[in-house]
Amino acid sequence: MQNNVKNIFDSFNDYLVKEQELRTEIREIVRDIDQAAKEAAIVLQIIHSSMADVPAACAKARTIFDTCREGYGKLAALIPAGQYYRYHDHWHYMTQRIVFLIALTIYLEKGFLVNRETAAEILGLTIDQKSGFHLDIEDYLVGILQLASELSRYAVNSVILGDYEKPLMISKFVADLNSGFRLLNLKNDSLRKRFDALKYDVKKIEEIVYDISIRGLRTEAAAVPAVEPLVEQAKQT
């Protein structure tokens, strides 16, 4: 019996050592991807200071996403089948941030919200859990929430840069996001906490729209009828 206990703990230790080794490898790859993501984040900061450079920044960001994709490919090869969530904690922050960057890039380029499938595709992942390494839905959603915060900042800065139309677009977009998130039944977890911050972003952007409207800074009031109710609402609050 005594040998038996020793055996169990010996194999448990082996098990831990193997896990540790794998984690070290994962950490290395994650660090590389993270580095690339940071670059993308820096590149995209240009949107807050110069309107003209936005397309170039988006193009640059997209090349960086390709680098990220390679990194994710390596990770996917490293993680044994069916153990995605065992090591998930190593990359979920990073993934959230990258989803945010992708969503921001696509919003700047096309003006709509990237869906989970497309975001996954850009990173060379799928949304299907069965395929092993996939884009976790909560990571995606947190990334989208980060986008809302960044857009509220973008709205401020686009006013500073003299673009009075952008805040209206952003306001519509974030309002849509908000109503989208309201459809979800969130548990009391980190996603929920992050979601609770969304209302401040919405408020901030609505205030900007209000400021613009009340001063008649919009070039054509009738140009964007869709945002009319929002303006109305802002006035009442």
Partner: protein
Amino acid sequence: MSAYRGNKRQHFGKAGGRRGRDHENAPVDENNPIIQCFREYATILDAKHDKYERIVKISRDITIESKRIIFLLHTIDPRKNNVRKVCEEAKERLEAIFRNHFINIAKELKDQDPYQYSRAYTNGMQEFIEAYTFYEYFCGQDISHWESIQKKLTYEKTPTEVPTDAKSTKENDNMEPSSETGLEKPTITTALHKGDEAVIMACFLHPQDFVLGLGDLSGEIMRTCVNSLGAGNSESCFQHCRFMQELYKGFLSVTSIRSRDFSHKMITLRQSLLKSENVCYNVTVRGGEAAKWGTTDDAAGALFQLQLSKDDDDEGVFF
């Protein structure tokens, strides 16, 4: 009640006007691509949370039943010569847990990443491991390796439905030999093995849960040790004590574990160990007859228990 409700609704209607319209219209705008996406996300999230809750529920049932089995095992008394009978019953009930509860978790985990939901049933699993190993210990068997328990947690079923994803199964099968070390068994591969007609489902046993369960076992052994002293068969105290020392050694040998629970268990284990060593000490010094009185709450007992006496509550007693 209904009148009040009616008022409330009216109140909403009044305040609504233009403003309410925005709030109520926005979510109903089904043509909005964002809303459509989020409807989809909502179903995915709900399915996930529901599954989690269902597993938690099963886990709770397992916890309760395991605690009862441990209680049952504590009724073993050599004087009554009921070892065989109690062990039979415990075995029966443990098997019943395999049959009734774990298979349901296995069903829930089918085609899933078991690590995603491992938090949902970790408590039940640990309690079960405690009961199971305690049973084995009591019946004089060797403590099972977690792999053999994992085998018992793997169910083969003639399918009512065909495995959904044949392609990924094949890939998994190919990967199996390379990643299969015998130690870490990717459960999805076993869960999805689509060879012949049978579907294999598994309730994944996290080795860490197993070890933590062993940690809980120490508390039960300590109680057995003290009880058997009270029952007068002081011989077995030494056996129990030796086993716990072995267990402690095993725990000490574990390095680099990423778990806070583990160090907590360590402390409890050490306290239990000290207690049972103290029992053995008393047996040796005074002979079995006297020690029975010595280790209860009198001064001599307190002297050896020292700082431990204040927080030596036995966990797992109440439920």
